[in-house]
Amino acid sequence: MKHSRWLLAGIFLAVVAVALGVGCGKKGQRGVTDTEIVIGQWGPQTGPAALWGAVARGTDAYFKMINEEGGINGRKIRYIYRDDAYQPAKTKAVVKEMVENEGVFAFVGGVGTAPGMAVKDYLIQNQVPWVGPASGSSHWAYPPNKYIFSVYPLYFDEAAVLVDYAVNTLKKTKIAMIYQNDDYGKGGLVGAKMALEKHGLDFVATATTQIMDTDLSSHILKLKEAGAEVVIMYLLPKQAAISLGTAAKLGFKPQWMTTSTLSDMGLMHNITKGLWEGVIFANFAEMPDSDHPLMKKYREAAKKYAPDERWGVFFAAGFLFAEPMVEGLKRAGKDLTVESFIEAMESIKDFKGIGPTITFGPNQRQGTRSVFLSQCVSATEAKQLTDWMTSDIDVEEAIRRMKEGE
């Protein structure tokens, strides 16, 4: 008796499963049904990089807004994100779980070079599209790969733009650099050096840091002794704060310039006790308090769907990385498959959201090479210095130099 009841239940479940399976598999596309599209993201919600976990949560608010507006071609987005604590091994596990158990159609964002590198090959092998890796590494789009679309400006390019501005507009020639000893820092170093060479210049000094260093006095002393007028900084927030504090103590007052990684002005102003004022930094999107109509709209959306979140650069970046994806999904139309989505993404030309102009093509996967510069005026106010500026250094050459370990 008991057995037969279990048997009946089993048969019932099997029937339901088959019925559902038929429903899902009608178009044979993982992660797409008549009513929904499954999109995934990973991001550090805990651990040392948890500050950037805001990206994945920002995307959540953005998709909620899109769904409320009626979704895309009659489908709603079902969005899931997982914490990888910025540990590549965990990234691998959560991405596999999202693809194989949740049936994710495509990924968006995903913070960090190392976590992204850990899953890049897996995504390509399983033909899972990935839009907007949240890192300026050149690994995503060079060489171009069918499934990956990058919208984050390259670390080379930000450095080159900063050098161009220092030389052409500020008329400075004594340029130095402090950078951390990894892909991010070295990418900046190579980009800046190539831009300097273009102007017939070289660094007056460079100083490299290990990521956990907390005493940077000999680094700063070296830059000061070299008489640097401009210091380009490729660091994370903590070491940037230590650098500025140490320089202030030693009476060293160069023009500091830095990347979009440190564009969270509220945070930087606070942890540097106001020393951030005057620092010039690159931006990959309109500033959070911008009057740009889309930015206004997103601010409202954030208030509505994520009232407890701080409306900072990284939360807004969650909107930025997902914008081209939504555009691609719209263009792909009702018949959504990986192939039709990629074709649609490749058709994106001069797309404008809250970021720079984005263009993809059959062999072009780096959507933009532009940033604009602004300068910190106070804790809440920044002055925009330039319009979008595009880097013109040779990316292939920069990658070659990176490999040589220059």
Binding site: T46, N181, M212, S218, L221, K238, I242, T246, G251, L267
Partner: protein, 290 residues
């Protein structure tokens, strides 16, 4: 420039010396390098931050409250985790301290979040005293003086107070101390408390030069440990001197040889010291006879 280098080295060396002192005190009592020392200091620093920012108390009250908190934290950790270990080997104890480190780190991340915070100590790290072209910030000066003062206090404490002498007795021979009526368990608890207080002072003085986050003490802890090994894990004075020496070597190495390997020089120093003087540079060399 060389003069400035020495000052910078001494400034950071004072911090290493404080951490080294905190580690040595526990090492002498429990015979374990306490790897939770940094996290204990970090949590105490957060406690100070909470008092200052959320509770808006004046900073000397906050400082006092923090020292009391740190003392209690040290005692509680010893009571809850270290004392529970049954007939522990050194390795067991190390694992216990590593476990406490993870717990405290996770706790801080959960309670205060991963964001870097500015620690508002009213002693400035950017206002400086100038002597003949050399500069030293008020905060660095305070750290140096605090380190010296604490060393003096500790010396007097171990030499002249009853508890101090009882501690030394416990360290030298636990059983004999017990037979002589010293409540060794209490003594161990107090040792952990004192060590935690010194760590907290290091944390509070260090946080304004860096940023307050759960990783606050990682670098200082490793360097403080290196300094203690260099100077001698059994000697308070040795450990402190090791701190100054390490700060100085690091800065010298960074500027004249390689910035890239500046952090690694500490470990090179450990290896060399262990090779030639296993008990540390400033510690009496002894070999255990079986």
């Amino acid at each position: 420039m060389f003069g400035q280098l020495i000052i910078n080295g001494l400034a950071v060396g004072s911090l290493y010396a404080l951490v080294a002192l905190a580690m040595v005190i526990i090492y002498k009592a429990s015979e374990v390098p306490n790897f939770a020392q940094g996290e204990m200091a970090m949590v105490s620093t957060y406690f100070a931050y909470m008092l200052l920012i959320s509770n808006q108390v004046s900073w000397h009250v906050a400082l006092l409250g923090t020292l009391v908190f740190a003392f209690a934290l040290g005692m509680v950790l010893e009571f809850l985790f270290v004392r529970r270990a049954k007939d522990p080997t050194v390795l067991d104890l190390i694992i216990v301290t590593l476990g406490m480190q993870l717990v405290l780190h996770g706790l801080a991340g959960w309670k205060w979040g991963p964001d870097q915070k500015d620690f508002p100590l009213p002693i400035s790290d950017t206002d400086v005293v100038q002597v003949g072209g050399l500069v030293i910030s008020y905060l660095n000066l305070t750290t140096m003086i605090a380190a010296l003062l604490l060393m003096g206090l500790l010396y007097a404490f171990f030499q002249y107070t009853k508890i101090g002498v009882a501690m030394k007795a416990t360290q030298q021979n636990w059983m004999a101390a017990r037979i002589n009526g010293i409540r060794t368990n209490h003594i161990l608890g107090i040792t952990w408390g004192i060590s935690s207080v010194i760590g907290a002072i290091a944390g509070v003085l260090f946080a304004p030069t860096s940023t307050l986050d759960p990783h606050l003490m990682w670098d200082p802890l490793i360097k403080g440990f290196a300094a203690a090994v260099m100077g001698g894990m059994n000697s308070l004075v040795g450990a402190a001197l090791g701190g100054y020496l390490l700060g100085f070597i690091e800065n010298l190495f960074g500027l004249y040889i390689s910035l890239e390997f500046k952090s690694i020089v500490a470990f090179l120093a450990i290896v060399l010291v262990l090779w030639f003087r296993p008990s540390g540079l400033f510690s009496k060399h002894y070999e255990r006879r079986v």
